[in-house]
């Protein structure tokens, strides 16, 4: 499988990364090189195993259903590039 210019644009759009035409041009061979190298995984017979979900067997623990955090609005907002009146602000989303 290999990617073309349109696919690279599609991936960039899914990844929410702005790319220029020059960057797309450079990325096509770069990504194909890496994907071509990954193709060798196809040589392995994996029919007898399931995809790994946990590398070390682990049981998810439950904790008591109590509030453990909160009332830290200013700390949460402290690193926001734009915050106003206790909210994160973003460009207009709804027309």
């Amino acid at each position: 499988m290999s990617v073309d210019h349109a696919t690279v644009r599609k991936i960039a759009s899914l990844a929410r990364i702005a790319v220029t035409d020059d960057q797309v041009e450079a990325m096509v061979p770069e990504l194909n090189n890496i994907l071509g190298w990954i193709e060798q995984l196809g040589e392995v017979d994996t029919s007898a195993v399931q995809p790994m979900t946990a590398v070390i067997p682990n049981v998810l623990r439950l904790r008591d259903d109590v509030v453990t955090d909160g009332d830290v609005r200013d700390a949460v907002l402290k690193n926001a590039p734009q915050a106003e009146q206790g909210f994160f602000t973003v460009p207009k989303v709804i027309e």
Binding site: I17, E30, P51, R61
Partner: protein, 496 residues
């Protein structure tokens, strides 16, 4: 009096306890060393006042007889650990200026154990790299130079390259690293120091900037194995805030260092004998094998048949997890937001912010990860890689079931290369640096790098020991035995 910055963690701890020097003396000496080593670019933020405050507390605690395990010991912190009120960037532009309002579990445990912070150490951006050339804050330079009079800047390894450079240059006695595919062990091998990646789940990942969550582990990097044992003791342990953190007791790692490995079985995997491996690495490995044999271990040849598929599997799984983890950098809640043009909406804000904020290698991995997870390719790439990962782990399980206690391999395929020397190579050449280390992350095992020799260029080379899950104590002891036999003492001469 000895030069305090030549001392390791155990020597500082013991000398401070005995009253040979004060914690303030130690912190001041290391602060001066840090301030005088700008040429290495090992630090992103220096925090001399935090180191002094911890030292003053340690001096008070000694006076009142309430010493802690790391009282009087200043350390460096890889800039991937969130530190409250101290900028944490993951060496990226997108997190430039980010000042966490919380403390990572591992760094918090180190401070609670009495350690002080000398500063935040440079790294490859989001821990993606093997040479420290992807940091937004510039390359880290190794204190080592080739012995032929050439002054070319050498790579300290990566991603924990600020850590390895700072320890080798005696700017810190020890520091934290993180290891997703070899990011503790490869830089340790490049700079003649020790570094252990513990079993997945031994150290909490809470508060560490996430790269690939199923592979990431924190660990100590130090001048020797004893220091690694001491520092790991303080870092390890269950944390309810990380669901993959193991709720099992942490043994006394330092007490395990007897140096007695008689009767242990050490496996030598034939698949790690790569084509084109430099003769010096080959010899290093053979010498290390002989040292363990002479120490009374039984040496056996073993096979880990899926080894060659580890790197390609890693370069599906790690980018997939990274693309998901890095989705949080959206310019809304923290970090950089791009300046927008008139009429730009929220999608343009995301796209411009991430284009400006992520470096080239990070963008490449996010793109690969996005692709292998996308509809139609998920099974062919991501699920297949996870199946291969299961086979890689099974290889190790079978070897351990057959009675092998630890596995000896080279840590890296070569000694340190020069900064910029790989610039023209394709990315896969750089990825090959982790060929011996990445299997260990995929299988969740503990692995340690120990320096055991110098090559003809006068540069350090290291060996890797791989242990059974949760048996870091045993692994550290085998490493301790190897370290004693190898007697590696070389240090880079100061030029910076």
């Amino acid at each position: 009096m000895t030069n305090l910055t030549d001392l390791g963690i155990a020597a500082i701890r013991d000398g401070f306890k005995a009253g040979d020097f004060t914690a303030r003396d130690v912190a001041s000496a290391f602060n001066d060393a840090v301030a005088g080593a700008k040429a290495l670019n090992a630090f992103i933020v220096e925090t001399p006042e935090i180191a002094l405050a911890a030292a003053d507390q340690a001096d008070k605690d000694r006076a009142s007889g309430s010493l802690k395990p790391l009282s009087g010991v200043p350390i460096g912190m890889k800039d991937l650990f969130a530190t409250k009120d101290v900028q944490t960037t993951a060496a990226s532009h997108i997190l430039e200026g980010f000042v966490p309002q919380y403390e990572s579990t591992v760094s918090g445990k180190l401070w609670n154990a009495g350690a002080g912070m000398l500063g935040k150490l440079n790294l490859d951006q989001f821990a993606m790299g093997s040479s420290n050339e992807t940091s937004f804050f510039g390359n880290v330079i190794s204190p080592w130079r080739r012995n032929n009079g050439d002054t070319a800047a050498l790579a300290p390894g990566g991603s924990s390259g600020g850590t390895s450079s700072a320890i080798a240059a005696r700017l810190v006695p020890g520091a934290t690293g993180t290891d997703t595919g070899g990011s503790i062990r490869q830089p340790a091998a490049f700079t003649g120091i020790s570094g252990i990646k513990p079993t997945y789940g031994r150290c909490s990942r809470w508060g560490i900037v996430a790269f690939a969550s199923s592979l990431d582990q924190a660990g100590p990097m130090t001048k020797d194995v004893r220091d690694a044992a001491i520092m790991l003791q303080a870092m390890a342990g269950h944390d309810p805030k990380d669901s993959t953190s193991a709720d099992i007791p942490v043994p006394d790692f330092e007490a395990a260092l007897t140096g007695d490995i008689r009767g242990k079985t050490i496996g030598i995997p034939k698949e790690y004998r790569m084509d084109g491996m430099p003769a010096e690495i080959e010899k290093l490995w053979a010498d290390g094998t002989a040292m363990l044999r002479d120490a009374g271990a039984k040496i056996v040849d073993i096979s880990l048949p899926h080894t060659k598929y580890a790197l390609p599997a890693y370069y599906v799984i790690a980018p997939a997890e990274a693309s998901s983890n890095l989705a949080r950098y959206d310019g809304v809640r923290f970090g950089h937001r791009a300046k927008l043009a008139h009429g730009d909406g929220i999608t343009e804000m995301y796209e411009k912010t991430r284009a400006e904020g992520f470096g080239h290698e990070v963008q490449r991995r996010v793109m690969i990860g996005t692709y292998v997870l996308s509809a139609g390719f998920y099974d062919a790439y991501y699920n297949r890689a996870r199946r291969v990962r299961a086979l890689i782990k099974r290889d190790f399980d079978q070897v351990f079931e057959a009675g092998v206690d630890a596995i000896l391999t080279p840590a890296t395929p070569s000694s340190a290369f020069g900064l910029g020397e790989m610039a023209e190579a394709d990315p896969i050449q750089m990825y090959l640096n982790d060929v011996f280390t990445v299997t260990v992350n995929l299988a969740g095992l503990p692995g340690i790098a120990v320096p055991t020799g110098l090559d003809a260029k006068g540069l350090p080379m290291g060996l890797q020991l791989i242990g059974r899950p949760w048996e870091e104590a045993d692994l550290l002891n085998v490493a301790y035995s190897l370290e004693r036999a190898a007697g590696f003492v070389a240090k880079p001469a100061r030029w910076w």
